[in-house]
């Protein structure tokens, strides 16, 4: 596997040489590219973005010292949103460059920081900085959220900004601070159920957590079964019914869980007790659960790559949308790949 590329940005008044001692301590873990942007802000960041784009790294990290850190933050923010033709970086390192009050963007990229207002850490502790970089790399390298070729397609001019934004936002993992509709126990049970309903291939997403957040937000899909209460309440009752009628579900063998799931779907698990759902209502709720889980999974770009789907790449924001020039079986466009493997397509 090729080494990840590490882009290094120096502080205002510094030079490429500022990173010499750090680079020397990095062994050969990275393809190191020391950049010397002029100035700061968006202009300098655009120049850096062009340098990154030109090298087309499959996997890259960026580190900045002082004002170089500010530039690295801007570039990372763009890349997370697929702007400037960039794919998201694997990691960001800030040295003596903690986020200032103007750095509003909350970044999803794994970030490591080191700084001491009293000293120039880069100059005085290059081994520390190198260790920070190597530590971060050991955690993040080799686990990209999206395969590089697919990430590059999303960042390309075949995809419009609105679409890119919607797709890449799904790479975010809901934090602990967002409202939830389910209790931890309900969510844990949902996780166990979904592992059998949608046994993901090509991804390992926390579908239960994502659905929980969605339920709390109350984003309906325009309808519900007349027999069921509003969505969040139906999900809570459905899960409570499983907990009451199938205790120990989470500890069953997978094949036993499958049998239990079949019985739920057939309406054979239910209860007349207050706050629970009857068998018939369970069967209805379960079709909602299945559909929601599949929707949540397939809307994630990594799942779409696994499907080998690229229908979202039908044109960018230019006046002419590229669309597709081939429509028949066995034909493909020159830019299309087997997105599951990243390989070229062959007849």
């Amino acid at each position: 596997m090729p080494r990840p590329t590490l882009f290094l940005l120096h502080d205002r008044g510094g030079s490429a040489r500022s990173w010499d001692d750090v680079a020397a301590a990095l062994d050969d873990r990275f393809e190191v590219v020391v950049l010397e942007p002029a100035g700061a802000g968006d202009g300098a960041a655009a120049w850096v973005a062009a340098q990154v784009r030109e090298r087309e790294p499959d996997e890259w990290l960026i580190a900045g010292h002082g004002t170089g850190g500010g530039i690295a933050r801007i570039v990372t923010d763009w890349a997370e949103r697929g702007e400037q033709g960039l794919i998201p970086p694997a990691g960001l390192v800030l040295v003596d460059a903690s986020a200032g009050p103007d750095d509003a963007a909350v970044l999803r990229t794994p970030t490591a920081e080191l700084g001491d207002p009293a000293r120039d850490v880069l100059l005085e502790q290059p081994e520390e900085v190198a260790r920070l970089l190597l530590d971060l790399a050991s955690r993040v390298v080799g686990h990209p959220a999206l395969a590089p070729a697919f990430a590059r397609l999303i960042a390309s001019d075949r995809v419009a900004a609105r679409t890119r934004r919607a797709m890449l936002a799904r790479l975010d993992v809901p934090g602990d601070d967002v409202p939830r509709a389910l209790s931890p126990a309900q969510r844990a049970l949902l996780t166990a159920v979904l592992a059998r309903v949608v046994p993901q291939r090509g991804t390992d997403l926390d579908l239960a957590g994502r659905l929980d957040v969605e339920l709390a937000a109350g984003q309906g899909d325009g309808w519900r079964f007349a027999e069921l209460p509003p969505d969040a309440e139906a999900w809570r009752r459905g899960l409570d019914t499983i907990a009451a009628e199938l205790p120990g579900f989470a500890d069953l063998e997978a094949t036993e869980q499958d049998t239990a799931v079949d019985r739920i779907a057939e309406g054979r698990i239910g209860s007349d007790a207050d706050g629970l759902l009857t068998g018939a209502r369970m069967a209805l709720w379960f079709t909602d659960l299945q559909a929601a889980a599949v929707r949540m999974w397939l809307s994630h770009p990594a799942a779409q790559a696994w499907l080998r789907y690229d229908g979202f790449a039908d044109g960018g924001d230019g006046p002419q949308k590229q669309g597709f020039t081939t429509t028949h079986a066995g034909e493909w466009e020159t830019w299309q790949r087997d997105w599951r493997t990243g390989k070229e397509l062959q007849a």
């Binding site: 309808w223 209805l284 809307s299 429509t327 079986a329």
Partner: protein
């Protein structure tokens, strides 16, 4: 669409007509009345879009779906949201499939021909000139020779077939079933659209379904609405109608709507209600208007619309090309049918989230779901639209829950009767045979229904219908309805073309009577 420079009316102006909804029913009426020199205002619940703002992302595209919650009951509870109804200037036509067959004459005379259902109060011959006019104006693409109607001509050559269409054609040919390029409300090459500008030729994207960014698809915001605005109509987006004020004689005097949280009142001489099969009936039931027949909300119909999918050896990538590019009308009256009416068949390409959710709703889950989806790029589908008979058991009622403007929500009960069940089984068997003949493997069936029709039935008898053959309410003589709610029978053709034709006729009848 471009609304700058549009003529604007004051709420205190008594306009000639207010049109509620800007979809396939409202837009042609708005244009026709404006062209006749009338002062007209359209109130649209959804926002205004430029075509380029739409997205091929399936989940994000829900911004053009009607997401106000509906409750679905019965043994075939209908899925709404992305299925059936839209919002935004252009209404559901923003996300219609653009599959554009004409209604079959036999389907308007189901009672006379087959002894079930009801006949339309108007004839196919009355509708035909309007169908042809709509096809010409929105510039439908289609085959040079239409096997089931030798006289038919389409303005533009057909759009490219996709892999599903090729495979379906292969299967049909082996079985002796006739098929051809589908009539598509998508332009197959760049064209000039009056008062809009250039509509680009199809870019062969399956995502065209959910908002066409190059305006190749004939949504109302790139066809009838620019025509209307050019002739002085005003369109007010994000205006949710929730009241109709009447004068002492019972005629409607003003339409009340909420915009940005504030209620407004537009004075008007006439109202055209074009909110679609669910919303039009929901409004009238909420206001307890135009219902001396007791028929408002009754006779709800949805097309049995089963799909049969198969896996092929070659990559099909069915998200390329217009999905519905092949049609067969050989099953409009199947010779061996044990049911009334028939069905239309079309090739299908469905995007992953919609198809996966549909599979999940059909009970496909776990490893089997994964095994099938592993070959998503090798799938091809065939789907149908079949006759649905009106039934006492099916209809729209109100529940106690209310929406954000205070209107009670709709509950739609829908169950198949024997006829729908027999038709569905026949259609599935036919589609299975086609896929077998075409060499498909892992064939699976998705049962579903589509379109929302019949809740404000049109007829000649004020005891059994809500509006007359001209779309005019029997109870309130300045209230007209035009959308799929007025359909007395379901027709098996997808409804949009018929609604547009009916809209032009409704407008003409109104103008003639005024």
């Amino acid at each position: 669409m471009n609304l700058t420079g549009m003529r604007r009316y004051a709420e205190s102006d008594e306009v000639d007509a207010v049109v509620i909804g800007t979809g396939a029913g409202g837009a042609p009426i708005l244009a026709r009345l404006a062209q006749a020199g009338l002062s007209v205002v359209a109130l649209e619940a959804g926002r205004n879009w430029e075509p380029a703002e739409h997205t091929p992302d399936e989940v994000d595209a829900s911004s053009i779906y009607w997401l106000g919650e509906r409750l679905s009951g019965g043994t075939e509870p209908e899925a709404f949201g992305g299925n059936n109804s839209g919002t935004g200037v252009g209404g559901s036509t923003l996300h219609w499939g653009a599959f554009c067959p004409r209604p079959d004459p036999r389907d308007l005379r189901l009672a006379s021909g087959e002894g079930v259902g009801v006949d339309w109060p108007l004839t196919h011959a009355e509708l035909l000139p309007y169908l042809v006019e709509v096809e010409g104006f929105i510039q439908v693409s289609g085959p040079a020779d239409y096997p089931w109607d030798p006289t038919r001509r389409y303005p533009l050559p057909p759009v490219a077939r996709n892999a599903s269409a090729d495979a379906m054609a292969r299967g049909c040919e082996a079985l002796g079933i006739r098929c051809t390029d589908s009539p598509a409300a998508i332009v197959s090459r760049d064209v000039q659209q009056p008062h809009f500008g250039v509509r680009r030729g199809a870019i062969n994207s399956g995502a065209t379904h959910q908002g066409d960014r190059v305006a190749s698809k004939a949504s109302m915001d790139v066809t009838y609405l620019p025509l209307a605005v050019a002739h002085g109509a005003e369109i007010r987006p994000e205006a949710m109608v929730h009241g109709l004020e009447r004068d002492a004689s019972g005629r409607i005097a003003a339409v009340v709507y909420r915009r940005d949280g504030v209620d407004h009142r537009q004075r008007t001489k006439n109202v055209f209600l074009c909110g679609g099969g669910v919303e039009s009936a929901r409004l009238l039931l909420n206001l307890d208007l135009a219902n001396s027949s007791g028929q408002v909300g009754r006779n709800y119909m949805a097309h049995p619309a089963a799909q049969v999918w198969g896996r092929f050896d070659e990559p099909m990538r069915m998200w390329r090309g217009w999905p519905s590019s092949l049609i067969s009308e050989d099953t409009v009256r199947p010779p061996d049918a044990d049911f009334a009416g028939g069905y239309l068949m079309q090739s299908l390409g469905v995007l992953p989230v919609t198809l996966g959710s549909s599979m999940a709703r059909s009970g496909i889950r776990g490893e089997r779901l994964m095994d099938l989806l592993e070959s998503y790029d090798r799938f091809a589908g065939i789907g149908v639209n079949g006759e649905c008979l009106p039934s006492e058991a099916n209809g729209l009622t109100l529940v106690d829950e209310t929406d954000e403007v205070g209107l009670r929500r709709a509950r739609i009960d829908f169950s198949y009767g024997d006829n729908e069940r027999a038709l569905e089984a026949h259609s599935i068997a036919t589609m299975r045979r086609i896929w077998e003949a075409a060499g498909a493997k892992d064939v699976f069936v998705l049962k579903r229904s589509a379109h929302a029709e019949g809740t404000l039935r049109m007829g000649d008898d004020r005891e059994t219908a809500v509006v007359d053959r001209d779309g005019r309410s029997f109870d309130i003589d300045n209230l007209y309805v035009c959308d799929n709610s007025v359909f007395p029978s379901s027709l098996i053709a997808n409804p949009a073309l018929t609604i547009m034709a009916l809209a032009l006729r409704t407008a003409d009848r109104f103008l003639a009577s005024a």
